[in-house]
Amino acid sequence: MNTVSAFDKPHFLRIFTGLVYLFLFVPIAVVVLFSFNSQKSLQVMDGLSLRWYEDFWNDPTLRDSLFTSIEIALITMVVATVLGTALAIGLVRARSGTSSSANVLMLVPLITPEIVAGISALLIFSQLGIALSFWTIVLAHITFSISYVTIVVRGRLASIGLDVEEAAQDLGASRWGSVRLVLVPALWPAVVAAGLLIFALSFDDFVLSFFTTGEQTQPLPVRIWSMIRFGVSPTVNAVGTVMMVVSISAVALAVLIPRLFGRRESGVKVLTGSEG
């Protein structure tokens, strides 16, 4: 008879995993709960109120920052999705020296600490004499989103054989025609999912924005940074909760969209970036 190890005992593992989820969710629950606190306290929950949400909405700087963050995320999403998808198609279909060096180039931003990315962006903008502004943030965000889109879309591409494209070409489609008529329709759930993930990542990004932001248009995370550093403010809880709702809605859509098209595991694959 086999002895049973701890790793075969779902009971022990179940409790351990439960504690991991607790560890992950308690801090978030604290933020959400205290965003509805009627007191200016982070220790005592007194009664429920929406006063911190009113403070958030009535503060023109914070409100502008919210809209700035959304605009940055939308532009980043569109440009990075187009470039990243094209890059994924090119990398999978081309078997050349260009594509293998481009493959390495594409992977490096994913594993570079964000602070290095932020400094690099800051240096190139100052070298070119470009004043820091809304657009420098957008450029920096796009740079670090392309690779992410490429990974997600490439995962889906790997499962589409060449045969359908070849069939289209046998039927008279040009190479470009087979991309437009065969590849793009087959890929679009993955492309939309990747775009939504980029929206969430850009919307939440702090470090890149911190290094590339100008004086006027500061995205929400940069504002949160100065709020936290200049003392504790319960408004941060409300801002954090609103941001959470925005980005988790985007991620939920990213997971749901591939599922709506009948690929059950694709949602997880989108999040784990796994291929095959």
């Binding site: 090119g90 260009t98 240096l123 980005s247 997971v255 059950r264």
Partner: protein, 282 residues
Amino acid sequence: MNASRFWNWFVYPGALWIALLFAVPLFLVLALSFGHVDDLGRGVYGFQLTNYADVFNATYVPVLLRSVGYALITVILCLGIGYPAAYFIARFGGKYRYALVAALVIPFFVNYLVRTYAWVALLADEGLINNAIVDLGLTQAPIQMINTPFAVIGGLVYGYIIFMILPLYVSIERMDPSIVEAGKDLYGSPFQTFIHVTLPATQPGILAGSVLVFLPTVGDFVSAQLLGGPDTYMVGNLIQDQFFAASDWPFGSALTVVMMLFLAVWMVLYLRRATRGEAEVL
């Protein structure tokens, strides 16, 4: 146009964008690290090693070592916490597997500053945890938790554990459970089976997760800034200071280059595996 040239046109726009706005700027950081600050406080390119001499002095070396030390402890904790959880979800999650993975990812999409700030509220001297244990009579006075290495490392584990759990999950799920049965038949002991069968089979996930946690952790400055103090500052805090408060960009660049040298081995290892399709890529 031959096929290869046709497909290369799909590669060029994205690859050029990354080259111009990422690869070239990295070389600017390297170049500026040999420069100096002029009389107006601006960084000027040059050919001198003074910034590197400054990095390797008694003030900054401990900070560099501390950063690497914190990052290694963070990797070990993430592995210790993440492996059992990923194992449970992949092997015993059943039909709830996808929901459980989705639930893991949710906290990661809450802004990192807000998440770290939540830990400030929990761990502060007047925070929720201290209030609770004092009220329960477990201690007389609050326990110092914030401004300690524990708080900083805890913040790092919380911030980056998802990068460990996801690759682990993928490689454990991919593992054929029957090899564990076979291992038991051959070795008997469950511990030996785990060491000789399960661990090697999930090694790509362990490696990918460790690298993906280690790299961003070394460069982090948010956790040490919010949950720590001057005694727990990491190299990210030093670098950040040089580009803002101290405004010594050449010295900040030298610190960045030295930090990247600490990371280079891990980055190359990961890239080699990822380009051969061996590592889980996130």
